[in-house]
Symmetry: D2
Subunit: 365 residues, 4 copies
Amino acid sequence: MRTPDLAAPDATLTKLGSGYLNSVKSHARLAHTANGVRKLAKNLSRATIEVDVKNIIIVTKHHDELLIYLTREVAEWLLRQKLDLDVYVDRGFQKSKRFDAAGIIHDYPAGEGRLKFWTKELTLLCPEKFDLVISLGGDGTVLYISALFQRIVPPVICFSLGSLGFLTNFKFEQFRESLQRVFDKGVKAMLRMRFTARVYKADGTFMCENQILNELVVDRGPSPFVSMLEIYGNGDLLTVAQADGVIVATPTGSTAYSLSAGGSLVHPGVSAISITPICPHTLSFRPILLPDSMTLKVKLPARSRSTAWASFDGRARVELKKGDYVMVKASLYPFPTIVASNTEFIDSVSRTLNWNVREQQKPFV
Amino acid sequence: MRTPDLAAPDATLTKLGSGYLNSVKSHARLAHTANGVRKLAKNLSRATIEVDVKNIIIVTKHHDELLIYLTREVAEWLLRQKLDLDVYVDRGFQKSKRFDAAGIIHDYPAGEGRLKFWTKELTLLCPEKFDLVISLGGDGTVLYISALFQRIVPPVICFSLGSLGFLTNFKFEQFRESLQRVFDKGVKAMLRMRFTARVYKADGTFMCENQILNELVVDRGPSPFVSMLEIYGNGDLLTVAQADGVIVATPTGSTAYSLSAGGSLVHPGVSAISITPICPHTLSFRPILLPDSMTLKVKLPARSRSTAWASFDGRARVELKKGDYVMVKASLYPFPTIVASNTEFIDSVSRTLNWNVREQQKPFV
Amino acid sequence: MRTPDLAAPDATLTKLGSGYLNSVKSHARLAHTANGVRKLAKNLSRATIEVDVKNIIIVTKHHDELLIYLTREVAEWLLRQKLDLDVYVDRGFQKSKRFDAAGIIHDYPAGEGRLKFWTKELTLLCPEKFDLVISLGGDGTVLYISALFQRIVPPVICFSLGSLGFLTNFKFEQFRESLQRVFDKGVKAMLRMRFTARVYKADGTFMCENQILNELVVDRGPSPFVSMLEIYGNGDLLTVAQADGVIVATPTGSTAYSLSAGGSLVHPGVSAISITPICPHTLSFRPILLPDSMTLKVKLPARSRSTAWASFDGRARVELKKGDYVMVKASLYPFPTIVASNTEFIDSVSRTLNWNVREQQKPFV
Amino acid sequence: MRTPDLAAPDATLTKLGSGYLNSVKSHARLAHTANGVRKLAKNLSRATIEVDVKNIIIVTKHHDELLIYLTREVAEWLLRQKLDLDVYVDRGFQKSKRFDAAGIIHDYPAGEGRLKFWTKELTLLCPEKFDLVISLGGDGTVLYISALFQRIVPPVICFSLGSLGFLTNFKFEQFRESLQRVFDKGVKAMLRMRFTARVYKADGTFMCENQILNELVVDRGPSPFVSMLEIYGNGDLLTVAQADGVIVATPTGSTAYSLSAGGSLVHPGVSAISITPICPHTLSFRPILLPDSMTLKVKLPARSRSTAWASFDGRARVELKKGDYVMVKASLYPFPTIVASNTEFIDSVSRTLNWNVREQQKPFV
């Protein structure tokens, strides 16, 4: 808690959260509060964070030689640019000839002791050590960062090496200007909702937990039989899905697998959970959006003919036996991506998906 | 402001809204605040309102004789049941033989002076006069109530005469028990988002304003030419829709026309605006959900071949000439409907739409 | 009947059609015949027509000055190129200064008496006069040609002035080479199915008839009430559509309005009728394809709340009162368009609709 | 060839198929022939087959005890009903105590020598031995019959034990009346198109062949990577599908997996091949219908990241390595199912899928 002023909103919100609303004397007051919440949500999405960057971490794919060179380029620039900065690169690069850590220090002795190496343990256990994450790669690298930071996530600036993606909204060619602006002016971050997904055995035994940036998928895997999955919201049975599977997606995930399966596009500023069936066996199983305050349960019923498989952001497939279930709810740890422009969501959707883009304005007939 | 405690959240939210978030020193704090907002939104949706009902208004369709009798039945019960209560019925019933106001007072003299008659002027100008609205009819009657109350809306209890609908979630047969429970225990209300839609001429002249519960539709009307509509979000051009029209829907409206046009189902607890094209001329114009903090503009561009038509909850068609536009944003005046059960949204969707309902559990093959 | 050989298939088909199949002694024989029919259909689609072009008609939009010049260019080339050819252009051009008929003959006296002018009466009453139709314009011009030729249609070569469309598959820039090839080598024509649509009053009175190349649409027009339409196939009630309307489309029409409403793409070589609802009020009203041997009836039932409107290829709106109906069946008069390449359907779909085209091969995540 | 008259159409069709259409002198003649083909197709679908049933085969699921009893009941009735009839039941029942073959003969000695047992070898090698197939079970049993009869298929009468399905259109309770009608009046059969699917290695080596009644599916199987599949029509590349997979379906299969993946319903009388992508990675990959005279090739390109899996009517999964491909075309051996009523397709679609069925006729709002 750095300033008393800043403490106030959180403290008040906590109080509000714990009981003040249990009994309100006036519907007008309730409406007034609802408007306040909406305004607050809006301002949250516009808030600028003054980041005092002391420790920066660069994440990239391991085995791409080009990326090693680019990581080196960024690291070297950072060390020279900002003298109070420690730069962490992948421990795997420590002995890489291509990265040539010794060469960096040799060329620039003032970097001595400030070029460091991160491991998965460090990101999992001490995420608050870092003030900024630099992502070098595609949207897949951003998902990898989400997997690394299973609790709190520092603001992430996502550089694209080729064309821009949904998440990779900064051009690598301009990394110097972009990072300088972060140091000078702070950042506006989109707090992307993540899910906390917990898998339990039929008898209630906890199995594993994952923070998810895109989606939970429960599907039939290699089984030829269709899945029958029970979906509960806050403990109530919502529906039974007979389908190849079910996708539970965040707004960020709405442009990924959920979209392929027929889901709507959802702006990351919307607080909602999408449920999209994969090849459902009823004509009427339209995708549905639920409030992100809801806790969902996806359960393979005991009467199911076969097992099912859960996967988290496309990774970590877990087999569900009869009666096993996954609990999903909005995570306490959102994923803050640094905003490049106010229209980046629509821009990315138009650019990458050709959303409503026509090559020519010729009418059909 | 009835109690200091209750004042606090609103005051704080107002302060938060006005600038405290302009510059935050820590992303962790921002995430913490975001979680607080989510929790607050959740509690808002669970809040119980202690309604001290002194003035009640009954709204129904005018020209249905059965409804006149039923209105009489409810009014009479209310007058006898709660002696400090004034009951307002449609001014049109004042001289109705079927309603027989004199007969009610004759049979129950203590009702004298407490059976009153409402007019459209009264609901428009003095909405805070009423503590509770009773809707007798179908979902159309609920839309009519939304049109009557263009500013603040008292909690609405929606009785269905036949099968339950999306909005009509209380059975008329049980009106005595349901209303008694409201008087005794207060109500839980779903604060349904409404839109404020304002129509402007090309030169910026204001034309008219409507509060919308379901959707704004801008379509080509009887014109054989497809509409070309520019859609802006917070001033930025999002896309140009070439289509028969565009539907801008609230979550409540997601089960209505938007659904017919291919939109997703959206739980009324989700704070989002749906944009769904009607018969778009691109294969890739997938429906999209935007944050309810966004201000949308739907504009008929100057280069358009023909005019377009705007309608609001299916009423009040207005012709848009070239350059005219409609501004849409979340209304300050939500529409509070009294909740009958926690799962009423899913129940209504399954019941009324056969959402994911199969007559038999036989697999396709 | 030009050759006895050619007569044989038709005569046999007629015999087959009239009763030989009423009773077959062997399922194997039936299967064998079915394979023969498929093979015949395939060969039909590959047949090359040796056109002995003596009379050619050029159709274009009237009021576009550019098109007058281009028509002049084509007509002049044709007169000079093939001396036994009569060229018909729009009667509206006869006195056009821009077209300058006298100038053409002045410059090329051998054209005297061979430059002629067509009227709607001529195309309606004497379609067999023409051996070839040249379409100059967009897909709309091709629909106009379909309207002009309500009975037999000569082969149509469709030149596009800008980018190629679904129907406009020849580039205007290459009209000389393309037409020369037609004269020298004959043509391969796609026999596009048309519908014959007949409108009847509730009491069976015949109202009007149209040959349709794209689609019949029956919709609610400016009425705010949804249409309820009964759809019959060969006299049996198939379903009752509650929707903004219903589209009955040919394969050619599958890329037009039907596609906007969610219909599948149908290759013009498929013999099928598409029924696609417009904004249906049930989640399960999936588009359906029926055999082109079926006679459909779309009827506004007597119990309907309002009238409906029928339109034919987007033209000629007719109001349907309660009980009125439209009969639709495959026309005896298909629309033969000259084929530019074997893959022109898929090419046009990919080019004009971006069908399954991605700007980049980047996976979603 | 039983009668000269019947021979004529086939012979003519064969001639027509082999070259008569290579060069036609008149487009009017071509149109005339096209109409003849349509009429012939229509009559084919109405043809009644006089079946002289001497050998009948009963197919059912093996391991369901109830089905053994029901098979016994049908077999016994058949032996007694028609003395010139041989009845084949599953070889697996020969020693079954429940079936008790000896008991049947003991109770009815005239059945001696007429109760016989079939094996897979018999159905594969001597399909013309049988004049009628009786299917006892669900739609899955019908698919099994299609697998048994890989060449010519006798007419199949499909009895449903529970509610009627898409293919199981006769009620078991009425088997006596239904079969008696077949013996007395012959049958009308729907000649359902099957596919011949052949799998080849990248180097052209033939792998295996299947007759398919519903669909070929090529999907990514357990691979986490999306499939990239090249689809060719008559040798031309139609598109490259980036998707979970691709479904190539017959009209019969249009109500199965293709429907789940978003395909249109296709009447079995339509001669078309449906291509429906499973979760495609482009917004614009709308399902497409192609003529059944087309030969399709689905190929896993050499540059693919992983293998794919082909399955045939949900059975017989085959792994495709890079460069392997499947050729699909209309089979010479359709699957004739006996027609129960003229509207059975629409009836089955409405009944089993709730196609456009509303529980109540209440409009959305």
